[in-house]
């Protein structure tokens, strides 16, 4: 609970307005994915291929690699966070 939450007391019950908004956001996100015709396993394939390429140039920390699709304004963005340990010698 943040400071504001602490001042205003414990959170009230989730309202149907909150519920509608949350469900709608999730549904619309999935709708947009579907329209892009990008099923989740394709995303995993993309991540693996991407890592192969990057690993040619960097030593990467595979365990901490994170690839997600995120909502940015009205666009869906592919976001990859790939921690690198060091540059590989050429």
């Amino acid at each position: 609970m943040g400071l504001l939450g602490w001042l205003t007391g414990p959170p009230r019950d989730v309202t149907s307005r909150d519920e509608a908004k949350k469900r709608l956001q999730l549904t619309i996100f999935h709708d947009r994915m579907e329209v892009m015709e990008l099923p989740p396993d394709r995303l995993n394939a993309l991540r693996d291929e991407l890592l192969l390429v990057i690993a040619k140039y960097f030593e990467v920390d595979i365990g901490r690699t994170e690839c997600t699709l995120e909502q940015d304004e009205r666009e869906v963005a592919f976001v990859a966070n790939i921690p690198v340990k060091r540059l590989r010698g050429s």
Binding site: T15, R17, L24, Q25, R74
Partner: protein
Amino acid sequence: MPGKTILFTSGKGGVGKTTSTANIGVALASQDPNINVCMIDMDIGLRNLDIQLGLENRIVYNIVDVVEGACKARQALVKDKRLPNLALLPAAQTRDKSAVSPEQMITLIAELREMFDLILIDSPAGIEQGFYNSVAAADEAIIVSTPEMSAVRDADRVIGLLEAQNRKINCWLVINRLRPAMVQSNDMMGVDDVVEILNIKLLGVIPEDERIIVSTNKGEPLALAKSNKGNGAGQAYQNIALRLTGVEVPLMVFGENENIFVKQFNKLKALIKFS
């Protein structure tokens, strides 16, 4: 300067496209007698814009007659009885959406652009051919949605389809049938929720207003009523028409805690520019 075309669309049916087209059309025409406004009913087979405007008895020809060459566009246009600078191009009632093609719409609207400053297109519900006929020559799109889940979801789908067009079509949001008391008690999504989800520019908010039904009964769009003041739907439609011509009108405040809407409201540049 050729006229500008504004599309009214929603995906979901019954959210207020026709009501919005009729009211914004009469508001624009009544605010400036020098603006010539044409409204096109694209709901072929299910026409309704004529009764909203009270012009149902004056129809001789319709849009299908025009594209099939049975009459000239000028002959099919129905002049409004109150406003000499307002006309309706009615839909055919006995045909279906496939009676017109997008190419025919582009040709027809090119002709209408020479006669009118503004062309408002009332699209049918759905995302099938009637939708694509309506989109074919649109410059701007007004997305009408109620603050309900299925309406907002369908609006998002339609915005996506408009964004996928080869031409750039600007999308504007009109939230219709807002019930301030329900928003206040957190039983309905508010303006800020819908704007956040759809992420397009807000053009205006129309409250739920039973006078809309009465005015439709009379064939007199509420925006024309003499008694328009305060925060009813008629005034809200007048405000939208003003914003479209570049006048800055703040969003209506429906309740005590809603000043946030006013802050959220993005200032508009004039959508319609007249030389």
